[in-house]
């Protein structure tokens, strides 16, 4: 098992390194001079200023050297100068062009909001989706089953942002059911935290749960046709237990794979949800950085953190797998 994890971590490290190289290459070898947006930020950009910034940022060095410097910053920190000299401590992801803060510090500042949103929302869609899917599979072919499938198709055919805006307009603004929808850190008290996030959680969770319901239903219908389900029934196991224990355990495995990836994408920033409910998380941060003038260090950081999260989520899913399915347990 340990060897397996080590092997997975090594390959994960490789993936992240490659991603960082690609990101680096894309931005720093792109058609524009990366110093250009920085130069544009404070009013007039003269050619002299651009040349100075280019020199200061080390953009005249070879790409390999730049990457090496960037990598060094990640592990031991470095000094960055454009105009003033900034101390960027390890792990250094650069200095934001717009706020002049350390990117790492900003990331750590935004991350809890996104994490809170992702955990709550994903729990809702996982639980609701799996439950509905299981129930639908149990009564498959009936009116209830068809109704659920139709409902879920309708919900998923409405664009998510429409759903979110409608929820915000009516539930929050108009009817004042959730008057205060924004992120409060946990340090403000768990009540405030949960209350502020309740509507985003529900909107995110219920919208996504339809896909999970359909997927779980499909898996369950397939599993319910397996021989071992017939065996369980034939030995007298109650129907409810057959479904929620014997069948669900087998059907849940592929659902978990999807869940792991979805969760990773949530963590990498749910732009729409954060924008609409005004949650200051990774998604908003990344979108802001993309607006001209582009805040290169922040964009690079969001892509990198996204890659890291997805890779980690994959590893966790694989480890979970081996706990659920003894056949993939590695000796």
């Amino acid at each position: 098992m340990l060897g397996y994890i080590v092997r997975r971590l090594l390959s994960a490290g490789l993936v992240v390194t490659l991603t960082s190289m690609i990101v680096f290459a894309l931005f720093f070898l792109g058609p524009d001079n990366p110093a250009q947006p920085l130069c544009d930020i404070n009013g007039k950009c003269t050619p002299e200023r651009l040349a100075l910034l280019t020199e200061q940022l080390g953009l005249n060095d070879t790409v390999y050297h730049q990457y090496w410097i960037w990598l060094q910053g990640l592990f031991v920190g470095r000094e960055i100068s454009f105009g003033p000299i900034y101390q960027c401590s390890a792990p250094c992801l650069g200095i934001s062009y717009s706020t002049r803060n350390e990117v790492t510090a900003e990331l750590l500042d935004k991350f809890p909001a996104t994490l809170s949103l992702a955990i709550g929302g994903s729990l809702i869609y996982l639980l609701v989706g799996v439950f509905l899917g299981t129930m639908a599979a149990r009564v498959r072919g009936t009116l209830a089953d068809r109704g659920l499938v139709t409902m879920s198709l309708i919900v998923s055919s409405i664009p998510y942002y429409v759903l979110a805006i409608l929820a915000w307009i009516y539930l929050s603004l108009e009817w004042q059911i959730f008057p205060d929808t924004t992120y409060h850190p946990l340090t403000d008290g768990i009540g405030a935290w949960a209350y502020g996030l309740l509507l985003p959680w529900l909107v995110l969770g219920l919208a996504q749960s339809t896909a999970y319901a359909r997927y779980t239903r499909g898996q369950m219908v397939e599993t319910l046709g397996e021989d071992y389900i017939r065996t369980a029934t034939a030995k007298g196991v109650a129907k409810r237990k057959v479904i929620f224990q014997h069948a669900l355990r087998a059907a849940i495995v592929p659902v978990i794979t999807i869940f792991g990836l979805d969760f990773a994408f949530l963590l990498a920033g749910t732009v729409v949800t954060e924008e609409i409910f005004d949650i200051d998380g990774i998604g908003q941060w990344g979108i802001r950085a993309l607006r001209a003038p582009v805040d290169f260090p922040v964009v690079a950081a969001t892509v990198l953190i996204g890659a890291v999260i997805i890779v980690i989520a994959n590893i966790i899913v694989d480890i979970l797998y081996s706990f659920i399915d003894p056949r993939v347990r590695v000796s």
């Binding site: 060897g3 397996y4 080590v6 092997r7 090594l10 590695v330 000796s331």
Partner: protein, 399 residues
């Protein structure tokens, strides 16, 4: 009975027949990787471990054994679906074991394979005409314009309606699909057909139709068969010569009369006694069955010496120390057992001492050497006579 023709293969004189296929000491080891960081190879699955046999032109050899004995792997090695680890596969005298993909290409048409599962071995998106016709086009067997005619001809040969060439596999029943598979194999006019469990997925009433078809095809086109199956009765019906495999090795090979009525290897005896027999049970109740205990050992770490010794009631010291060679004991009978003999025989002097150059405890005798011809495929006119051996060992016992 009088009007039925004897099966073509049984008319062959095996002593003089020319071999189309000779397999010598063929091996296939599959690596087992460690779960560590480096994934080193930590063991080998010895799926096929030194088998030798020959198939005469137009004849059929049956390969029987239980799951995991290596019979299907052997079939796949011969059609080169797997790369052999060692050994020779001589097809018409030419060793094809080490040929590259490109060098194999012209031979592909000569060695064809029929698979067990008629459901998964046909592409569901292709019509029967495409399935049977593609090999004709690839190997340029007939001019482009004649392909369809030839496909119809082939469908007729295997007993399908030739006008059904534009139908898809799912429109046919299991037996009919197996016929399509046979038509595809016949398209290239092969000289050797490797049939891997060709009827075991079919219903019993359909099995007979397909077995009869294979016999007709063999007679008509003079095709040699390597017939791989776990069903001892079907193999006996189809093949005049039968080899029994156990854990990657051939333990006994003989003409079917000898193998089925006087098996000399304990495993063959156990295997045959385990087959439920309708007629026997119908007229005289159950036969005296040899109960084999336990399971087949792992091919990763097979027992030393004789691989069957862990389940054998005859096993002695020598069985753990010396691997019994496949020794010819009759004009068309070879067996790999130190104590080979008919059921109930009680010889306790190993018959293999002279050829191996060891004493009865399995330890080497100084100065004695191992006979050199023990891995030859086929039969030789000279063989060890068990009767002589028996008389000699009785004399020894008297002294």
């Amino acid at each position: 009975m009088t009007e039925t023709q004897p099966h073509a293969a049984s008319r062959i004189d095996w002593a003089t027949a020319e071999s189309i296929l000779e397999v010598v000491n063929l091996k296939k080891y599959f690596p087992v990787k460690s779960s560590g960081v480096l994934r080193r190879t930590i063991a080998q699955v010895q799926a096929v471990d030194g088998v030798s046999f020959s198939v005469p032109r137009g004849g059929s050899l049956g390969l029987v054994g239980e799951s995991g004995c290596g019979k299907s792997t052997t079939g796949r090695l011969i059609t080169r679906l797997y790369e052999p680890t060692a050994g020779e596969i001589r097809f018409e005298g030419k060793d094809i074991a080490a040929l590259s993909r490109k060098e194999m290409l012209p031979l592909r048409s000569e060695i064809q394979m029929i698979f067990q599962d008629p459901y998964s071995s046909l592409n569901p998106r292709h019509t029967v005409g495409t399935i049977v016709g593609t090999p004709l086009q690839v190997h340029k067997m007939v001019p482009e314009k004649k392909v369809l005619d030839r496909v119809r001809e082939l469908l007729e040969v295997v007993g399908l309606n030739p006008e059904h060439y534009n139908r898809y596999p799912n429109e046919f029943s299991g037996g009919q699909r197996q016929r399509i598979g046979i038509a595809r194999a016949l398209a290239l006019q092969p000289k050797l057909l490797v049939a891997d469990e060709p009827v075991s997925a079919l219903d019993v009433s359909i099995q007979a139709q397909v077995v009869n078809l294979l016999q007709d095809v063999q007679r008509e086109f003079n095709i040699a068969f390597l017939f791989i199956a776990h069903d001892l009765a079907v193999v006996r019906h189809f093949c005049p010569e039968v080899a029994v495999m156990y854990l990657g090795k051939i333990v006994e090979v003989a003409d079917r009369e000898t193998l089925y009525s006087q098996p000399h290897h304990p495993y063959t005896q156990a295997l045959l006694s385990a087959v439920p027999d309708v007629k026997q049970a119908a007229v005289g109740g159950r036969r005296d069955r040899i109960r084999l205990e336990g399971d087949v050992p792992s091919p990763v770490n097979p027992p030393s010496g004789c691989r069957f010794r862990t389940r054998c009631w005859k096993a002695q010291d020598i069985c753990a120390k010396q691997e019994p060679p496949l020794l010819q004991i009759g004009p068309r009978h070879k067996v790999a057992c130190h104590f080979a003999g008919q059921r109930g025989s009680t010889g306790n002097v190993p018959i293999t001492l002279d050829v191996l150059g060891v004493n009865s405890h399995g330890d080497p005798v100084p100065g004695a050497t191992r006979a050199s011809n023990l891995e030859d495929p086929g039969y030789s006119p000279a063989f060890s006579d068990l009767e002589t051996h028996k008389r000699r060992s009785e004399k020894l016992a008297d002294r």
